[in-house]
């Protein structure tokens, strides 16, 4: 069995207010205030994901899910502990992340794919597939700044999903987009999973997580409060007690 993602006693502290000029720093220091007030977003989080596992990452807003994904993707670095990964990472931390509004759809596909580590030959080979999946054929050469939010979302997902990766991370991005597209995305994510790639999937949609993931991790105020079967995680979060607060109805159609 091969470990794919190892998160080892990881903590992440954010600085809430930056003293941006030297003068501000000196003033605060001379008043013996803390130079910057801080916030502990992740507190001693530890877990391991095996290659090919599909993990659902759950928790309330502000519990640190996005922060954890950014640490896994390498955008952020932990203050304490270590994050280790194996193989290439692709995914979406945010819809349309890395798209430049002034560049055309075509140019953005190439740029985004290159950032995800694809070579020119690889992108050329997958280009048509990416465009077809996103369904933006007619708008390929107009600037993405003029795309509707749906098109923007489709293009972003499409590039990330077609990139070759060993670890695939997705952060709540499927909340946008119309039901047919969501369905297509879920199907694509299942394919990714069935190819034996590791998935870390952030969602509030318990039905989606149940269908896709084999294990769930729950964060509460930056601490890992649950790690185990998805059904138990839903129970742990008490999402199953509140019939109105969940989008299970919508998720049911996938």
């Amino acid at each position: 069995m091969a470990e794919s993602v190892v998160v080892n006693h990881v903590s992440k502290t954010f600085t809430l207010q930056n003293a941006r000029t030297l003068k501000q720093r000196f003033v605060r220091r001379s008043r013996s205030e803390r130079v910057n007030p801080t916030f502990l977003a992740l507190d001693d989080v530890t877990f391991t994901v095996q290659q090919g596992e599909a993990i659902g990452l759950m928790g309330l807003n502000g519990s640190g899910k996005s922060t954890l994904l950014k640490l896994i993707s390498g955008v952020l670095r932990p203050d304490k502990g270590e994050v280790l990964t194996r193989g290439r990472i692709a995914g979406l931390i945010e819809l349309g992340a890395g798209f430049h509004p002034q560049l055309s759809g075509r140019e953005n596909i190439y740029l985004n794919a290159a950032i995800l580590g694809m070579s020119e030959a690889e992108v050329n080979q997958k280009f048509d597939e990416i465009v077809a999946f996103a369904g933006i054929n007619k708008f390929l050469d107009s600037p993405v700044g003029r795309y509707s939010s749906g098109m923007f979302a489709r293009l972003g997902f499409s590039v990330a999903a077609m990139a070759d990766s060993d670890i695939f991370i997705i952060d709540e991005v499927l909340a946008v987009g119309d039901p047919p597209f969501k369905k297509k995305c879920m199907a694509r994510i299942r394919e990714v999973r069935d190819e034996g790639r590791t998935i870390v999937y952030v969602s509030h949609n318990t039905t989606q997580v149940r269908k896709l993931c084999t294990r769930a991790i729950v964060l509460e105020e930056g601490r890992l409060s649950f790690d185990g079967a998805v059904a138990d995680a839903v129970h742990h979060l008490r999402y199953d007690e509140d019939p109105s607060g969940d989008e299970d109805g919508e998720g049911g159609e996938i």
Binding site: N18, Q51, R77, I115, D166, T214
Partner: protein
């Protein structure tokens, strides 16, 4: 522990390692394709909705050159004491402009790409390097113009001229890279950097023998002052470029250059390479905080 459902073994993936690229400038060299796309993006974004587009990179230096020539050459009459005064200015101006351009654009390079830095895993050194590359792209044609002008004015280069040209350009590229790396990183944390950079840009304009000849410096500063003056990489690059283009075009005996210019230039290049190393260290240290500070 939870059973790992669906887990597969993939020995081909290699060892576990921290995510995120920490290979610095070497990582940038390995991903030249991405660098090329970032440079293309920068060029396109800069000139989109601009009527004259790339022509601006000729118009601006041309206007600046004309002003210098008119005020200093004609009004202050430096034309009489400096042979081929126009060539003297132009061979210097290319270097000074290159430096101030990378200084300004390079410093902003990381902050301007904040959406990429915050959300995608890119080797962050890409941004200052792309910025220097864009400036180089603009400076190339200016160098061609300089070459043509020099040939028309009767350029008869000696071997020293060629060595001086290579040294001067190398010094300019390395010092610009060092400055772009260090300031782009500092600029994320400190707003002061913007003002600091403006001040340096102004100092550089006057601290290289562009608008006055080296002869004045040699005459009036004394040996210690001279050495301090020559410790400025931009001044050194300017002198080397003048040695390469201006001196061989002027009839011999009329130009004054520092003694042992090539040796000074060689030492300067080694120092600038060292500065790139220092700048890379600064960058790597600050880079950890980029995503959360922007």
């Amino acid at each position: 522990m939870t059973p790992a459902v669906g887990a597969v073994d993939r020995p081909d993936l290699g060892p576990l390692r921290p995510p995120g690229d920490t290979t610095g400038l070497f990582g940038v060299l390995k991903r030249r394709y991405l660098l090329k796309l970032l440079v293309q993006k920068e060029l396109k974004v800069r000139y989109q909705a601009s009527l004259l587009g790339l022509a601006w990179s000729y118009i601006k230096p041309l206007v600046r050159f004309s002003m210098y020539f008119f005020v200093l050459g004609v009004l202050l009459n430096l034309r009489d004491s400096i042979p081929l005064f126009a060539l003297h200015i132009f061979s210097a101006m290319i270097m000074v402009t290159f430096f101030t351009d990378t200084l300004n654009a390079g410093t902003k390079s990381v902050v301007k790409n904040k959406s990429l830095v915050r959300k995608m895993n890119v080797p962050r050194e890409m941004f200052p390097v792309a910025s220097v590359t864009v400036t180089t792209y603009h400076a190339g044609p200016q160098l061609v113009i300089l070459l043509i002008a020099t040939v028309l004015l009767g350029w008869s280069p000696d071997p020293t001229a060629f060595v001086a040209a290579v040294l001067g350009i190398s010094i300019m590229l390395t010092i610009s890279l060092a400055v772009a790396l260090a300031f782009s990183a500092l600029n994320v944390t400190y707003r002061d950097v913007g003002n600091f950079v403006e001040t340096i840009g102004m100092m550089v304009l006057w601290s290289a023998p562009q608008l006055y000849p080296w002869e004045f410096v040699a005459d009036r500063l004394g040996p210690v002052g001279e050495q301090i003056y020559l410790a400025n990489p931009v001044a050194m690059a300017v002198l080397l470029n003048q040695r390469a283009f201006w001196v061989p075009a002027v009839d011999s005996g009329e130009t004054v250059m520092p003694d042992n210019l090539l040796m000074h230039g060689g030492i300067m290049l080694v120092c600038c390479l060292g500065l790139v190393g220092v700048a890379q260290l600064i960058f790597a240290r600050l880079e950890h905080g980029f995503a959360e500070k922007m």
